[in-house]
């Protein structure tokens, strides 16, 4: 606020009426949204949706204007949100400029700028709306399906309409867990690049227990398989932690090396010892008793891994912010010198953090193996471990942030598939958008200068911000 003039005081009218206006606004917005929902569901008054939507946005603007002070807790979300938006905007340009029709129209841009713009806009609109449909679902199809379900009791259409959103959630599960793994490492000052390998080992252990242990009831077999996977990940991460604590070997190098070991180990196992049928390069299917239950009938694949992910996120939050161990771990990460000075055992924390991180990544592999693939094939890891670094950054290494970031990535992944099939936009564009989100998160200064935000106090040097607090 340094450069702008101070805001003029709000008119007296508004100040006096604030309390009375607030419920009014809230009620109106609620009514309008209700109207939108009803008109979608009844498929009547669809033409009204747009003006109603505009109106509700206006009301929302008014509401937030009135209650400016009470939204401060959202401040932390500004940079990630802007990063995502900016990436989507740049992605829009990419989509437009890779579209053949647009490129052609650009050839005679100066004669007909409107035409080129129109085409570009259409390309972007189709791409992003198909992405939306692929990720969340088409509102009309959902409405139709719901109607059919209520009227005739036949739920198949509704299920397939809900499939996109369920698919987004399903794809978010491994993201949440691996993202938590990396985030926990970051909080402890460790850069765990090895989530990929830990993911693979976790999945491997779970699958092996899943098909080789027989004759157990599901309530023993399933937990056993999960534990085996978690333990596998914990060992894979813990080794790196121990190496760092005892010999000072850097965790970045060692996690990378552990990744390679994991990749090649699994490759070898799949070529020989664990290969179920010669030439398939895959393990046997796990037993039904070891499968994570799915909530719905096909085509919805959402499985109980969701609960593992949610529980893990809650656990990480509780552990880091509510326990003395977590306090130690965060202190070691935030300032190892101060941690040593206050008598914390840095080595112990490093090992524990890496083991926990490995456990979380291992659990991601577990949920993927026991919930979705039910066996282990080459390429099982699918890059989740590497994307997770971005997720942890995007989520500011906070469990809540990681969950939101994972949802975003899940949505982008499942929406990207549809964007490719419907709008013909290559899947790579989605990856580019993801990459740009990360760039903008990693360099908040870009976003801040793009949108001319003030540099936050805690990002400034202590020397300049301490001024004026008095001493």
């Amino acid at each position: 606020m340094s450069a702008n003039q101070p805001d003029p005081p709000a008119p007296g009218f508004l100040q006096a009426q604030r309390r009375r206006l607030l419920p009014l606004f809230l009620g109106l917005i609620g009514l309008i949204f209700l109207a939108v929902v009803v008109s979608i569901l009844t498929k009547r008054g669809v033409d009204l949706i747009l003006p109603l939507f505009g109106l509700s946005v206006l009301l929302l603007i008014g509401l937030i204007t009135l209650r400016a002070g009470s939204f401060n807790w959202l401040r932390g979300a500004v940079i990630p949100l802007l990063a995502v938006t900016t990436a989507l905007i740049i992605g829009a340009f990419l989509i437009a400029f890779t579209d053949r029709a647009v490129l052609q129209a650009l050839g005679n841009f100066f004669d007909d700028p409107g035409g080129a713009l129109r085409l570009a806009w259409n390309a972007v609109a189709t791409a992003y709306s198909s992405m939306f449909e692929g990720a969340i679902g088409s509102p009309t199809r959902i409405a139709d399906g719901l109607e059919e379900w209520i009227m005739s009791g036949e739920a198949r259409a509704f299920r397939s309409a809900m499939r996109p959103i369920a698919e987004s959630l399903t794809r978010s599960i491994p993201y949440v867990l691996t993202g938590l793994a990396v985030a926990l490492g970051f909080r402890a000052g460790l850069f765990n690049i090895g989530a990929e390998g830990q993911f693979l080992i976790g999945g491997l252990c779970a699958v092996v227990v899943g098909f080789s242990v027989t004759g157990l009831p599901a309530y023993i077999h399933l937990p056993l398989a999960i534990l085996a996977g978690a333990a596998g990940g914990a060992v894979w991460g813990g080794i790196v932690g121990a190496l760092k604590a005892w010999t000072g070997a850097h965790e970045v190098i060692n996690t990378i090396m552990m990744n390679w070991i994991a990749f090649r180990l699994v490759e070898w196992l799949l070529r020989g010892p664990l290969e179920a049928t010669q030439g398939t390069r895959r393990t046997a299917e796990i037993l039904d008793t070891a499968k994570l239950p799915r909530f719905f009938e096909p085509p919805i694949r959402l499985h109980a891994g969701l609960f593992i992910a949610i529980a893990a996120a809650l656990f990480v939050w509780w552990f880091l912010w509510k326990t003395t161990w977590g306090f130690e771990m965060r202190t070691v990460g935030a300032n190892p010198n101060a941690a040593r000075y206050s008598g914390m055992n840095i080595g112990r924390n490093v090992i524990l953090a890496m083991a926990l991180s490995g456990t979380l990544a291992g659990l991601a592999g577990v949920s993927e193996a026991l919930g979705l693939t039910h066996n282990m094939t080459l390429g099982f890891q699918a890059g989740y471990g590497f994307d997770s670094i971005a997720l942890a950054l995007l989520g500011n290494s906070h469990p809540g942030g990681v969950v939101l970031a994972s949802l975003l990535f899940g949505v982008l992944r499942s929406g990207g598939t549809r964007m490719m099939s419907v709008a013909g936009v290559p899947l790579e564009i989605t990856s580019i958008i993801q990459a740009m989100v990360i760039i903008f998160i990693a360099a908040p200064a870009i976003v801040r200068s793009l949108y001319r935000l003030d540099i936050r106090r805690d990002e400034m040097e202590p020397a300049t911000i301490t001024r004026g607090w008095g001493s």
């Binding site: 505009g54 603007i61 509510k322 326990t323 300032n335």
Partner: protein, 681 residues
């Protein structure tokens, strides 16, 4: 006589803080003007504005009676203003000459004086930079044009909105516009500075305008067919687009051309740097400057091999080489020994004699009274007083700085020293490269006494304190606390024995800057009741403790949840002192407890240390400030090159004698005694 530099009503705001509030002063030619003020009084901000690191929000700067704008350090240098920062900006692995000419733009290139033109290009580019357009800070010669452009742009955006709604997929466009509005809304209320859309002025009123634009767009979209507007609007919009495109193309072309020139200039500058040192005239010029002002700098020496005092002179040469007439010295004596400071004062005199002017920033009262011609005092960003050294006293200046009377000497009654709490015998240690840093240190500290360890920094004090607190590996010798051996004990074992430690580097060791105050207050005791209940942290107990300590130790903070990063140095130190003194202790090890703090905080912390001593704790005080050592200690030990050379009862100690021992004592090689190896700091 026109002052060489005059500042009128300069103000600078940082988010939530008014760092400088209508500050005015003038500097005469050949004058040493001293600025006094507590930490956070706004001295450094003011100087950074003079040096172009910040731009003032309000106010004017006049040089020789002419108004000037200083927008970058380059501007400051071209106006003859040079600055020597508190932390030197030197490249250690380069020679003095290389450091001096580094980044200098006044040189000619292959005989062509291109600098003025380059400056002009830079200035022009700065002026036509389109980015400030969106900031509503219309100033400068292109005001009118910019204003017109702003208008044009704002309507372009508006028309674009309508255009989108009319001709494109309406639902999608509506959603987009709605999302955009939400997005700007979010920016506006959460992002600190309000974003400014081209068509709206800062302030809440703009949301009304955005709303109107949006509503109009939606309305037009709804009524397009009824009104038959489609064709008209599209023609108008296309015309505007086409005109805008041509203007934009020309504009971008100009930018590219001038940018290319600047790039070329940078390249040539780089090539110039490749010419070997000996073949350049720079070295001779540096030597000449050094001679002229009695600086005694060897132009070919490697900066990393120079002592701190000499490095500072290199900084001064750097400023003089760029033809600075006004030198700003930011706390120059903070890093110097008393002897080096003395030499600096002589250099300052010789600079003044040759017509330079000096602005001298410090919070050491003695120095100000010695070297300044005039003293200005800042408090809370305002100019609160002016004094002449002849009429002022330390007490009067301190009162002006703090705004109340300050007791400069610590009152303490003698307490009979009790049992020895800390006993150190022949402690020796080496640094990472195997050089000895402690060479057999022995002493003891008894209950109820303060043992002060004096010495120039880098003589083993840091390692001694770290060795005693379990943070540094001891080579040989023993240390005991009340008979318990703590040689190579862990930090936790040491603190469990009742040792409090105020670390030398509060930011590096003592605090976690990103943590709120309450978490920093339990840094050493988080694992013990009442803060821990089993594995869980009792947040209520933690908060209660923090509220309690913040009150008793007078930590000035908006709340206990404020990250420590946002506190001033004095308050950071108070947090540490509060934490360390809040538990029962037998021994307090305080290392540089008041470094860089202002008078008020120093007074407060000194009082607390003496209180602990009176309660019967043993205190080991390590400080580079001789005044602090002399006023707090009962006994004083002087450390030099890893040894304690001299121990004396504080009552009998004199400044001169201690200074002599700090420099190696009467047996120093200068006096023909034993030869001691001097290691670079």
């Amino acid at each position: 006589m026109t002052p060489i530099l005059e500042i009128r009503n300069i103000s600078k705001r940082f988010p939530g803080v008014l760092a400088n509030d209508k500050v005015s002063f003038s500097l005469q030619k050949g004058e040493v003007l001293a600025f006094l003020g507590e930490n956070g009084a706004g001295k450094t901000t003011l100087m950074n504005m003079l040096y172009g690191l910040y731009t003032p929000d309000e106010g004017d700067i006049y040089l020789n009676g002419q108004r000037i704008d200083i927008e970058s350090p380059n501007d400051a240098i071209s106006h003859g203003i040079g600055m020597v920062h508190q932390h030197f900006m030197l490249v250690p692995v380069m020679s003095v000459v290389e450091n001096v000419v580094l980044g200098d733009e006044t040189q000619q290139l292959l005989g062509v004086p291109v600098t003025p033109f380059t400056r002009r290009v830079q200035a022009f580019l700065h002026r036509v930079d389109p980015r400030p357009l969106f900031q509503h800070r219309l100033a400068g010669p292109y005001q009118l044009a910019r204003k017109a452009l702003t208008w044009a742009l704002s309507y372009l955006v508006f028309f674009a909105l309508v255009f989108l709604l009319l001709f494109l997929d309406r639902t999608f466009a509506g959603m987009t516009i709605a999302l955009f509005s939400l997005f700007y809304l979010l920016l506006s209320f959460l992002g600190g500075r309000r974003p400014s859309l081209p068509w709206s002025k800062p302030g809440r009123g703009r949301w009304l305008q955005i709303g109107i634009a949006l509503a109009a767009a939606l309305l037009l979209a709804g009524l397009e067919e009824a009104l038959g507007l489609a064709g008209v609007v599209s023609t108008v919009v296309e015309g505007i687009l086409r005109a805008g495109l041509i203007v934009a193309a020309a504009y971008i072309g100009l930018w590219l051309l001038l940018g290319a020139y600047l790039l070329l200039w940078e390249g040539l500058n780089f090539l110039n740097g490749l010419i070997p040192l000996g073949m350049r005239s720079d070295a001779k010029k540096v030597a000449a400057i050094s001679r002229q002002f009695g600086l005694d700098v060897n132009p070919y020496a490697m900066v990393s091999e120079l002592p701190v005092g000499m490095q500072q002179r290199v900084e001064i040469v750097k400023a003089l080489y760029r033809q600075a007439d006004i030198l700003i010295l930011d706390e120059p004596t903070a890093v110097l020994t008393p002897q080096e400071a003395e030499e600096l004062f002589q250099v300052m005199r010789s600079l003044i004699d040759q017509g330079k002017s000096i602005i001298f920033i410090t919070h050491k009262l003695k120095e100000v009274l010695r070297v300044a011609d005039r003293i200005l005092v800042l408090r809370g960003g305002r100019m609160v007083g002016e004094a002449l050294p002849k009429q002022a006293t330390e007490a009067s200046l301190a009162a002006m700085m703090v705004g109340r009377e300050v007791i400069l000497t610590v009152e303490k009654e003698r307490v009979a020293a009790g049992e020895a709490v800390l006993q150190v015998e022949n402690l020796a240690a080496v640094d990472e490269r195997g050089h000895p840093v402690l060479r057999g240190v022995s002493f003891e500290v008894r209950a109820g006494e303060v043992l002060g360890i004096a010495g120039v920094q880098g003589n083993g004090q840091t390692e001694l304190v770290k060795a005693l607190t379990g943070l540094y590996r001891v080579g040989s010798g023993r240390a005991r606390i009340e008979g318990v051996d703590i040689t190579d004990a862990s930090p936790r074992q040491v603190s469990e024995l009742g040792v409090a430690h105020v670390p030398e580097d509060r930011v590096k060791d003592g605090l976690v800057l990103s943590y709120p105050i309450y978490d920093n207050m339990i840094l050493g005791s988080y694992y013990r009741p009442p803060f821990a209940r089993g594995l869980l942290i009792d947040e209520d107990a933690v908060h209660r403790q923090a509220v309690d300590l913040v009150q008793t130790f007078d930590v000035r903070t908006p709340s206990i949840a404020t990250p420590v990063r946002n506190l001033s140095g004095g308050n950071m130190q108070k947090v540490i002192v509060a934490r360390e003194l809040s538990r029962p202790i037998k021994l307090l090890i305080a290392s540089q407890p008041t470094r860089g703090l202002d008078v008020g905080s120093i007074e407060f912390i000194h009082k607390r240390i003496i209180e602990k001593r009176n309660d019967g704790a043993a205190v080991l005080l390590v400080s580079a400030e001789l005044d602090e050592i002399m006023s707090l200690s009962d006994r004083i030990a002087v450390m030099y090159e890893g040894k304690i050379l001299y121990t004396v009862d504080a009552a009998q100690a004199t400044r001169e004698e201690l200074g002599l021992w700090m420099a190696g004592g009467p047996t120093h090689p200068l006096h023909g005694g034993e030869t001691l190896e001097r290691q670079p700091a």
